[in-house]
Symmetry: D2
């Protein structure tokens, strides 16, 4: 029997993601009118939104800013004691920023940076949302009825960040927060191979967090936030409705190799990439899962998509935009990745 280190189960879930938008009204319209979300609060430059199967106050914060990008990423701890343990661990790394008293939607939170300067926080106390009486449903495991506007997403699924050094970020999330690594992309099969991306989770899902190498070698940039449908057809429905309305699809609907999930990538009008997941892909219940490692030089068409290649922009563009790629991602710049 091989030695087997016991896993840390102190982070329960991705709680919310704050995205930055130079056009917050258009960003909000995208998430509300097209993805069926609801605004639950507005304060200052920030709107709070939730999806219909979420019981918390909010899972998405849209904050006005000069450029698109990510504001912060919040995790909910497994218990108050678990929160204490993780704070202690983070503090030991010097990346902690300290406690805040609380914010709209949740209580006291401990803020910290990833080694790549993404702002994160972790908390236990959370505010639950009470839907309006007319939204009550006899389907008792659902906080409210399925909305009748847009193609409504059900819940926040994961966040994908870019990092100058994805390895350092991954190791921090593994060691201090207990993330398990599920899949990785490396540049090739050589001993000098570089890690180009990794997918980590605190649950049987393949990821709540992915980190991809930033080709611009900048720090703290954002790749995408993903909401979940649970039904592959709804990615098709969303693609049709969004594209008829003039939104730009970057890739999909398709089926990822990494995670095996049905996906759709679309640009929200504030300039951030949004993913929609049609199913869970596969789930990992094995406690001694060995991370799957893909080699980009030979396996790119499989890792991105079971069906075929996706556009190179997927690997090149992050937010805030930078350099030539900062130009608005237009349909005619697409090239197949292979």
């Amino acid at each position: 029997m091989a030695a087997h280190q016991e896993a840390i189960f102190d982070v329960a879930q991705l709680a919310h993601v704050e995205i930055l938008s130079p056009d917050p009204a258009a960003t909000e319209e995208f998430f509300v009118d097209y993805l069926g979300m609801e605004v639950t609060a507005r304060e200052g430059q920030t709107a709070h939104l939730r999806a219909y199967e979420e019981s918390y106050h909010s899972s998405l914060l849209i904050t006005e800013a000069p450029e698109p990008g990510v504001g912060h990423v919040a995790w909910r701890a497994q218990s108050p004691a678990a929160l204490e343990r993780r704070v202690a661990a983070i503090e030991s790394t010097g990346l902690g920023r300290g406690w805040i008293d609380g914010a709209t939607g949740h209580g006291a939170a401990y803020q910290f940076n990833t080694p790549d300067d993404h702002l994160m926080e972790i908390f236990w106390d959370v505010e639950r949302w009470t839907p309006a009486p007319e939204e009550r449903t006899p389907l008792k495991n659902r906080p409210q009825r399925r909305p009748r506007h847009g193609v409504p997403v059900r819940r926040l699924d994961h966040v994908n960040l870019m990092a100058a050094d994805p390895v350092e970020c991954r190791e921090f999330m593994q060691e201090q927060l207990g993330f398990r690594v599920r899949e990785r992309i490396v540049s090739d099969g050589s001993p000098d191979a570089v890690e180009l991306g990794n997918w980590m989770s605190v649950s049987p899902s393949v990821h709540e967090l992915a980190i991809m190498r930033d080709p611009a070698e900048l720090r703290g940039r954002f790749h995408h936030v993903c909401y979940w449908y649970g039904v592959p057809q709804h990615c098709n429905d969303a693609a049709e409705v969004l594209r008829e309305a003039g939104y730009e699809i970057e890739a999909g609907p398709g089926k990822h190799g990494v995670s095996q999930a049905t996906f759709l990538y679309v640009w929200e009008p504030g300039g951030n990439r949004v993913e929609l997941f049609g199913d869970v892909g596969y789930l990992i219940h094995e406690p001694d899962w060995e991370p799957v490692t893909w080699e980009a030089d030979t396996e790119m068409t499989w890792l991105t998509s079971v069906y075929g290649p996706i556009p190179m922009s997927f690997f090149e563009i992050g937010t805030p935009p930078v350099g030539p790629a900062a130009a608005a991602p237009a349909a005619d710049t697409r090239a197949a990745a292979s």
Copy 2:
């Protein structure tokens, strides 16, 4: 901040289920020719089978027996230390049966009974299966190619047992093994209400284990085992192919209220009920999830199915068969539950 007991994360997954069949050849044909599984070993009266996305040696054991029913249910621990902790806990209840040296497909296992006399076991060491070279796939997170026979299931999902006292069983699984209760059915809203069923999990899924009250008040009976597709359409495909071949569908394809999963119930020719899941339904990431409680007298049509009622046989028939219901479950005995 309310007091919050820390959860136990020592059971990682449902590892395998042994079902009993008076016609093991027909049972095997059902799982292999129609559900696309593979026989990985035969020994004595038992055949071992696995589904194509399972990396372990086997997830289903079919054992010849005079009557249908469940042989045993096996769990894999989260780690060797977690295994030790659970064994100690079980032993303290007096329900432990002791260690076995190992068996085809796994190493040393600790056997125990539920309070209702279902035989279970828990182990750490497991044997992995190496598919034939021609079954290798470039989709590296999948142990082998998707089979081209039948409508192939991907992995074992959950097991559902009947118990004379489902409360006692549930509490044992909660306290000694760390299961979290996700949903429950009680007879009504009164203080004297009886618990008719419960759904428990060690993961964000609503259940790896459900226990339903046995209307015959017998002990140790079996309700069903469930395999997973991940794609709702595949329940439709299976229903069509199975029914054309003369297998009897009990209910579905439909969508459960409890778990929200897409389901199909079919009788395998040995007399056991088999469920096929088309998706994950909803996932529970909240660490302080309050179990959803349904009241059978008024909410039956919602809890069984979002779309409408399912046959009463679902609540009445377990295996081994007993009394009048022991007669072969025939299409013409179906009545709508409402």
Copy 3:
């Protein structure tokens, strides 16, 4: 080579159906807020509606009336000359009622009765609908964008009528209007078998018109009108949204044996049965198709549904309501047909 009579191709399509409702506002809300249709005109007691892939002015008329039922059924001819030919044929039977000058949405129409006293009409000139500029779509074969409200139906599919004598009605539609019989239900395999229902079309679809024997032996009653999604999942979506809103599902989502189409039956609040089709089922391109004949005494579970039985109410309740069955169709009156 067997003698083969040349088919008549003079009826092009089902153009619109008028349903009667004692609660037209609720009926309209059902079709607009939940099925995504649009009101294009109101005049007197009638509202005109269309679905988003229909280019004509309207496909559904909702007319206030004391009881639910069908007002009239309208067909569009294949050409002006085809219209003349069909009018002459109908006139020869004595069932013609004469020309009307036109009505909202279409030009001059010839009205007639079926032998069972259903009012029908046939016309050539039709008014096309111009969607609002903001509804234009780059998908040029679609009259307007897919709506973002409800689970929007795409087009009218078929109408199902009840008749005291379905044979007489069928022969009239075959001989005078050129319908081809695709499937039939007879009571049994004996020489005295009674025809219980038939499905007829003027296209490769299995039916634009079905006629079922009225168990009340009344004349001119209505069974249902059907709208089309083209995507099976949308029947699931509609079932979920409708049932959460309190509408009553009669049967489905399921897959018919007759027509092989994915179906959902729901009661609109005016008391009429509405069907939603998820796909086309199968198409008949063979010019010498022999009608498929099902025997109700032994094949009922297959003809109604590939997956399993549907409620007996399906065979018993028509509109206007009559006798004991006239009581509001409630969930607890459902019984499985087998």
Copy 4:
């Protein structure tokens, strides 16, 4: 009332397509082991195959030849008299080749060339196929049970040919055979625009025949043959199974703008492009349908796909191969069409 020419309804359906393959064993394996078809006859260099919902002897002929391409395309007439009428019409154009006595699977057939030298035939007498007794199904409108091997296609859907002059071919099919034009692509919106492709049908489907301009300006080349699933998910299933087996996907699964159908393009190992249709897209019941005309210079991303662009190879490669494009179509030559 505008003058309206009466349509010709003399061609009932696409009956079969003969494809040429330099590797007929591999081509047959593709259609049988992966698409679930059945070989019904072999004679000389030709294998006859049928899909499981086809009642005729065969819909696909695979003939050994030095290069891939199309052998001939066969239509079934609406009636014996309709056959006579079409033969007379074709003869008047000088493109007739005369009668053959019959062939495996059908009776006397009249052969002719399109103006672009594609060999076609039309017949009335057809041989029906009797499945083996063990393949009988209680689903009486289906010739046999759904197969349990591969991802089985249901029926032949359409054929797509390349032509040096697609206009001349289209006009011949319209005038002599009664095809209705449903959609067209022209190069741009100018008066000098060139027709790049057209889609024609003898039914409410958008096409049984499409003709695309051959960029090589050769005559008689082949673009693809399409089989039908009726369920969009099955295109995903086929893509996954085919790609894991090493077959090359050219494009999809996606949703066409032209026809709105769910599609998958894959190269069979003989070198021909095969399409799989997941649904019917939209159906045209309007007798005075105006062909939808797309302009390639500005609308290419919409006409090919509702979701986004497809590879340029789709517009460039026909069979037999020619010039530089004759090199095996490899994944790394793909470029996005926009």
